[in-house]
């Protein structure tokens, strides 16, 4: 156990109970690295950063359980020591990033289309619901269909259904070899190429189009990666790791200007979308970043027209993300679910705007 590990479950649960009694609202806070997404909201801070530490880690079971306040830095270092990793390659967006904030936001990095998303790797959670009850769902096993999948429901719920206390995750071995290739081509061609390659048995682990180049990462055994590289015949990128790190952390130059940043989630083979602004196609075409001043309505309608959706991910103000509006019946279900977990609206009340936008 690392120094500073602490179990503050009971204190946090008491704080929620007190807030319910006083009809107060709570804003769950971690390292604060994703405040740009959550926005500044009213409510007394419920700081979970003190509730930290790895609870169990069984490398031969491929499972780790850690408290929500554990930093990604600490967690990923512990895994790396045993040659393992979080295969959804979560963005940190800052040194202080915690596991709880990462799961609450449900962010995944470049490896996502080929390895799976944050929610795919969640096996169990311990939460505090809006009544201040400590509840445990899922567990530390790979397969578990006892009860509804509340654990995965928590991923991306932005703390609006419960305070995350612990998360159990499936982990995977770090590939023996990784290499990044690049090919010069325009976006539309890149979308075609990468989706054609996606249908072949290749050890792909990331693919994005930026500027006028398609970048492809290969991961696997030494021989497997070598064989794929020979087959694809691209140019090798020297500092591949740094490249993908900068894409993941939004540090590439693409992200460095004041225009609002939109995230479009669309079927991967969707041809280049006609909207004004600059594009970065990640996730083999399934996740598209757009720097654009176009009105929200125009962008969201365009995303819907190709069977996707659009989120205003980062903007200069402190309002946080702006989510895609949901159809009426679906937002009703969201409101019912929120009430089922947090009847008094104590937890992160204003954070989840799909619920709001429909209200």
């Amino acid at each position: 156990m690392a120094t500073g590990d602490q179990d503050k479950s009971n204190e946090l649960a008491e704080a929620v109970k007190t807030a319910v009694k006083n009809r107060a609202r709570l804003t769950i806070t971690g390292g604060g690295t994703k405040r740009f997404y959550a926005g500044d909201v009213e409510g007394d801070a419920l700081d979970v950063t003190g509730h930290r530490g790895i609870v169990t880690y069984e490398p031969t079971e491929l499972i780790v359980t850690a408290r929500a306040g554990t930093t990604l830095r600490e967690l990923e270092a512990a895994l790396a020591e045993k040659g393992q990793m979080l295969a959804f390659e979560p963005p940190w967006f800052g040194e202080a990033a915690t596991l709880g904030g990462t799961i609450a936001c449900g962010f995944s990095g470049p490896r996502r289309p080929y390895a799976g998303s944050a929610r795919d790797f969640v096996l169990g959670t311990r939460i505090i619901n809006g009544r201040g009850e400590i509840l445990h769902f899922g567990g530390e096993v790979m397969k578990n269909v006892a009860g509804y999948d509340v654990s995965r429901l928590m991923v991306g719920a932005l703390g609006s259904l419960g305070v995350l206390l612990e998360v159990s995750l499936k982990v995977l071995p770090i590939p023996a070899k990784e290499t990044t290739l690049w090919f010069e081509m325009p976006a539309n061609k890149a979308i075609d190429v990468i989706n054609a390659l996606g249908a072949q048995p290749l050890p792909l682990s990331a693919a994005c189009h930026l500027g006028d180049k398609l970048y492809i990462r290969l991961s696997g055994s030494e021989l497997g990666v070598q064989a794929a590289r020979d087959k694809l015949n691209g140019k090798t990128l020297d500092k591949g790791n740094d490249f993908w790190h900068d894409i993941r952390e939004h540090r590439s130059r693409f992200f460095q200007d004041a225009a609002p940043l939109w995230r479009l989630s669309v079927p991967p083979a969707t041809p280049a979308i006609n909207l004004p602004g600059k594009w970065l196609h990640d996730w083999g075409g399934a996740q598209r970043w757009l720097k654009s001043e176009a009105p929200a309505k125009e962008i969201q309608e365009k995303a819907e027209s190709v069977d996707g959706y659009a989120t205003l991910f980062r903007r200069s103000s402190r309002h946080g993300a702006q989510f895609h509006p949901l159809p009426k019946q679906l937002s009703e279900l969201h409101r019912n679910l929120k009430r089922a977990f947090d009847p008094d609206g104590t937890l992160n009340r204003e954070l989840f705007s799909p619920v709001q936008s429909a209200a």
Partner: protein, 494 residues
């Protein structure tokens, strides 16, 4: 709170059947006992009950009509796919409509570029891979019943299969769905994009056992068929050695496509049935399959061979060709019917355990087997800890089914005690409902009921399944014990 139990219907059976026939074809509404007999049970045939009415809608509009009508009369609805489920999840309600989705059997689209298939719930699991095959693609989750089971049931139960350590469960392979709420409203979640806006209802609906909505369409991921797959069979004279070998393979950094273990009785049964070439004197065998590029697989198989021998395998065989690989798997896939030949009846359990406790759990199962005088064969998805003990019994011997269920219950309790779960992939259904009281606290069960009520406020969808009422837990008498406290101590005992 507790899910409300449906009250008595406000119409007669004849009247409801008449109203159903206003929108459904005459022969799509069954009320005669003889016609309804095929629907009285699913794959767990120990539980049987005739439904009140069977409805077989042909399209979404008809299914929506059935739901609206039932909602207006307060009549329970149990949705059913191919009926291969092993937990009694599709057991009919005696005062309810059994909604069969067997006519929803079309593959609507195979999209080779986005690598998805859009299918109706009645499509068989294997049919998806067959339709995708010309494009070099397949649908990865492969429950052993994949020839017969339908995708609707797979999603409702979040089915696994022998390849799920590497390729995930059903929940990892569904990107979109359409479902209807109890009041017949159609809701669409996602499609071919990789995620959906709002709460992750796709994950929540998967494995929800027909309790939250009636699912009528899915978009599933298709993966490229691996260039090469190769399997090794390792023979062990002690079950512990086989368990340790599994841990060693994972520790070495391998994520095998399949990693299966069988014990002596299971080996004997399958060998007699499938002639897979399994050694009869082994205490355990391990099947380990790698897939991927040809280079990767060759490299990996060589390493795994060495590793298994180091771990004390008495023998390690590598399939010399594709025919032998398929033969090695044929034995494992036929384990259930093979055990069925050894004994008039068998009862399949589905616990999942942290793998490190395998030896302890198998030893305990052996003791319980002696204590109850019933043989148990074990097949094990060793990669992901999912254990299928098969209890051999004869239903014609008086009291033997009850004894079998008692033994099964003891096994599941032991799985919970070592940190596992009562069901890895078959679902709770009606079968494991009592054991849910042991695995979950009162607050957790109440949260499940509140969640269901968010979708189905009158508790009409599949009532009495998946999540026990608190009074049922009190009646069951054995409780989830947390920190030495009895979980339901404030409830009256029956």
């Amino acid at each position: 709170m507790s899910t409300p139990q449906p009250t008595l219907p406000s119409v007669s059976r004849e009247s409801l059947a008449h109203q159903l026939r206003e929108k459904l074809p005459r022969n799509a509404v069954l009320t005669d006992a003889e016609d309804m007999r095929p629907y009285e049970c699913d794959g767990l045939s120990a539980y049987r009950r005739l439904p009140w009415i069977v409805a077989l809608p042909e399209d979404i509009a008809q299914a929506s009509y059935v739901l609206k009508l039932c909602a207006s009369h307060n009549i329970p609805v149990v949705a059913r796919g191919a009926g291969t489920g092993l937990s009694g999840g599709a057991l009919p309600h005696e005062a309810g409509v059994l909604l069969s989705l067997s006519k929803f059997n079309k593959i609507l689209e195979v999209d080779p570029v986005n690598r998805t298939a859009t299918v109706q719930p009645g499509v068989r699991n294997l049919a998806i891979s067959e339709a995708a095959s010309p494009h070099g693609l397949y649908y990865a989750p492969d429950p052993s019943s994949q020839l017969a089971c339908s995708i609707g049931g797979n999603v409702a139960e979040n089915s696994g299969g022998v390849h799920c350590l590497k390729y995930g469960l059903t929940v990892h392979n569904v990107t979109g769905m359409k479902f209807m709420t109890m009041d017949g409203e159609l809701i669409q979640l996602g499609g071919k994009a990789l995620d959906i806006p709002g709460y992750d209802l796709l994950a929540l609906m998967t494995g929800s056992e027909g309790m939250l909505g009636v699912m009528v369409e899915f978009t599933v991921k298709l993966l490229p068929k691996p260039e090469r797959a190769q399997v090794v069979l390792a023979v062990f004279d002690e079950i512990e050695k086989a368990g340790d070998a599994v841990a060693a393979i994972i520790a070495q950094g391998f994520v095998p496509a399949g990693l299966e273990m069988m014990d002596k009785l299971a080996i004997k049964a399958t060998e007699e049935y499938a002639k897979a070439g399994y050694p009869l004197d082994a205490e355990a065998i391990l099947l380990c399959e790698l897939d991927g590029t040809a280079e990767e697989v060759s490299e990996g198989i060589a390493e795994i061979r060495t590793l298994l021998l180091k771990q004390g395998a008495a023998e390690v065989r590598t399939a010399k060709d594709e025919a032998e690989r398929l033969r090695m798997w044929a034995g494992r896939k036929a384990a259930f019917p093979a055990v069925g030949r050894l004994s008039p009846d068998y009862y399949c359990m589905d616990g999942t355990i942290p793998r490190k406790h395998l030896a302890k759990v198998l030893t305990r199962i052996g003791e319980l087997s002696k204590e109850y005088g019933l043989a148990v064969a074990n097949v094990f998805h060793a990669g992901d800890g999912n254990l299928h003990p098969l209890i051999l019994y004869n239903a014609n011997n008086e009291g033997e089914l009850e004894k079998t269920e008692a033994l099964g219950s003891k096994i599941l309790e032991f799985c919970i005690a070592v940190g596992g779960t009562v069901t890895g992939e078959h679902g709770v259904g009606i079968e494991k409902i009592n054991q849910m009281c042991l695995q979950f606290s009162k607050g957790e069960i109440e949260q499940f009921h509140a969640l269901k009520a968010a979708f189905d406020p009158h508790g009409l969808l599949n009532p009495g399944k998946a999540v026990p009422t608190l009074s049922r837990c009190a009646e069951f008498g054995r409780m989830h014990v947390h920190s030495g406290k009895l979980a339901y101590s404030d409830l009256e005992r029956f």
